[in-house]
Symmetry: none
Subunit: 224 residues, 2 copies
Amino acid sequence: MKNDKRYHVTDAVFEKLKSAIISGEWKPGEKLPSENRLCEMYGVSRISLRTALNRLAVLGLVESKQGGGTYVCEFSGAEHLQSILPVIALEKPDRINMFEFRKIIETESTALAAIRADFLLVQKMRAANQAMKSSSDIHVISKADLEFHYLIAQATHNPLIIRVFEVLSDTYLALLTDNVCKMGATGAADHDKIIAAIETRDSEGAKALMKQHLDDTIKRAVME
Amino acid sequence: MKNDKRYHVTDAVFEKLKSAIISGEWKPGEKLPSENRLCEMYGVSRISLRTALNRLAVLGLVESKQGGGTYVCEFSGAEHLQSILPVIALEKPDRINMFEFRKIIETESTALAAIRADFLLVQKMRAANQAMKSSSDIHVISKADLEFHYLIAQATHNPLIIRVFEVLSDTYLALLTDNVCKMGATGAADHDKIIAAIETRDSEGAKALMKQHLDDTIKRAVME
DNA sequence: CTTGAAAATTTGTATGATGAATTTTCTTCT
DNA sequence: AGAAGAAAATTCATCATACAAATTTTCAAG
């Protein structure tokens, strides 16, 4: 009852264009044929083609300049359209879902981080945690808090995990700031223990500590 | 040098529509005015309005049905994940990282599914698994395989988990098809056990079974 | 009140035309 | 020849109009 969405011309063109980019037919930085040309190539109207291109643009795959042409974007990390809706304040049930998701990703990430983290990253974790402890500015604290968790994600060296974290970071930050307002930088002590566990490559221990840390955070965040 | 992007009509309309949704002027589930009416309201052409609407649709904020109208989607934070699509597309994540990520999400999802799955979903899981066993068509088998795992995700009732699964499903399907080619529908037996565990609300058991199942799958997939 | 077909509404697609920004071409001057 | 600048061609942005396809609404028949 839900999947009765028609396949439209624009969907087909979108898929074809996407495939062409993914397959490397058009490489990053390269210029696509003009819209009129693409219309001929795919046998569709300019309307359909343009909506497909527009979708690709929203996804950050291509970029069009009036008069200049359309180019495949070089994938440059997180910067593109990052925060889509950081504005939307999440309802309480949504927060719980977000926390649940975060707990899953982060506990397992911590286990991986303990195995794979290099010295530089551990050092950065320490620095972030130090910054967290030595400030009294709410925003600085929550930023440092987020940074610590981000470093954990980076330490997994799994681009999917890192990217998912980046995408959700705005919402995470909102949640963290909220927590910091309620109870200050109390998480820093937990972080210290986690860092220590990571440093000794104690994967299971680090994971358990992170799980406990997040459970505590959630508990406090929810009971408001 | 980079930010010399012109502000186009379509950008302005997009922002206005987005604001209207975020501010709650149009609430989730609500029907937007027709395109023609919106054109009048904002004083733009239908082309511009439609590109703006299209963007919102890509972001998961609205949904249009031909002949039916355009509706505001219920959002739950999962929309943020929309932007990981380009990464998946461009960076063609290697199997190892994909499997690792999948293992994390799915093992924990199974634990949650055992707690929250309702009868209907369990029934669907059985059906999918039955379809998997009773077919010899590779594509049918792998489709059913994917469906089973998708149902697990759905059983968590966590929109973020569900969304992540949906975004990755294309890649998953490719992996699954590949596996089925190599070793047929051998996973169905595992699935049966997992379903049984879910049915008895044995969360830890189901999780362990899924973990084992994925480990086996990965092992076989890698040794090719 | 129910059924079902016709009418109205609404989104999807196509075509053609014009404006705006950029790129290319070509003339002109040193 | 080389540089500068104007003209032309290219290309994306926007508009108006029309029709097709799908859905919703209306309304008459039973």
